[in-house]
């Protein structure tokens, strides 16, 4: 059975996609976050809108911030979101 990957969306990424998150087949250890984003962007209009400008996206693997060119490795959870605005 293929490995599964949990994906979480936050802020306007979540709103445009219309989901808090979803579980997909793991695209492979060598795939980068940017590859995952390109893959997800093909899933529909909301996804395409959310992922239209990768420069406006940030990501975390297993709850740690990573650059978009980071390989997924053995990630179990990937989160995709806009730059943070707390404080």
């Amino acid at each position: 059975m293929a490995e599964r990957l949990e994906i979480l969306y936050f802020a306007w990424v979540r709103e445009r996609i219309g989901l808090d998150g979803e579980t997909i087949d793991h695209p492979g250890e060598g795939a980068r976050i940017s590859d995952l984003i390109a893959l997800l962007a093909q899933r529909g209009e909301g996804y395409a809108a959310a992922f239209a400008e990768p420069a406006r996206l940030r990501a975390a693997i297993d709850q740690k911030f990573v650059p978009l060119d980071a390989p997924l490795g053995s990630a179990r959870e990937v989160a995709i979101f806009p730059p943070v605005t707390g404080g």
Binding site: A79, F81, P83, V84, T85, G86, G87
Partner: protein
């Protein structure tokens, strides 16, 4: 002592500060962030990444604690719906002397803004809503602590 809370409810800055005063040092510095009611803002909603927020804030507190040899750190960040004038964030640090307390408090609030997974959504009196955009100035403020900020 490091204590981090991510909560929907309000907090009492005076009580939090008094608790840190018992750390045994000579200095406590604190920062309280409030929701500004500019431009007809009626609500600010704080979204966050629950599994990551607490860990990330604790890691920041640990880093400050080591760098300035702190005696105590308290961070409180609220999430959910807030209105103008509400307290949103509290950072306080206890140290032996004032410089360490003041600098570490500034470091924590600068870093918290750029490296903790929170997102703000604004709602205005005329019905407009929108996500707050990250500001380059905030990145610059955080970056200054990387290059000989001490």
């Amino acid at each position: 002592m490091i204590a981090v809370s991510v909560q929907t409810g309000d907090f009492d800055p005076g009580r939090e500060q008094a608790a840190l005063e018992a750390s045994g040092g000579g200095a406590v510095a604190s920062f309280t962030g409030l929701v500004r009611g500019e431009g007809g803002l009626v609500q600010l909603h704080l979204d966050h990444y629950p599994a990551m927020t607490q860990k990330q804030l604790e890691a920041l507190a640990e880093e400050a604690s080591e760098r300035w040899s702190l005696l105590g750190v308290r961070i409180i960040h609220r999430v959910g719906p807030l209105t103008p004038g509400d307290r949103i964030v509290f950072v306080a640090t206890a140290a032996r002397h004032r410089q360490a307390a003041l600098e570490s408090c500034a470091f924590l609030i600068d870093w918290l803004k750029t490296s903790a997974p929170f997102w703000k959504r604004e709602r205005f009196a005329d019905g407009r809503t929108g996500w707050v955009e990250a500001r380059d100035e905030d990145d610059a403020q955080a970056a200054r602590w990387k290059t000989g900020g001490e």
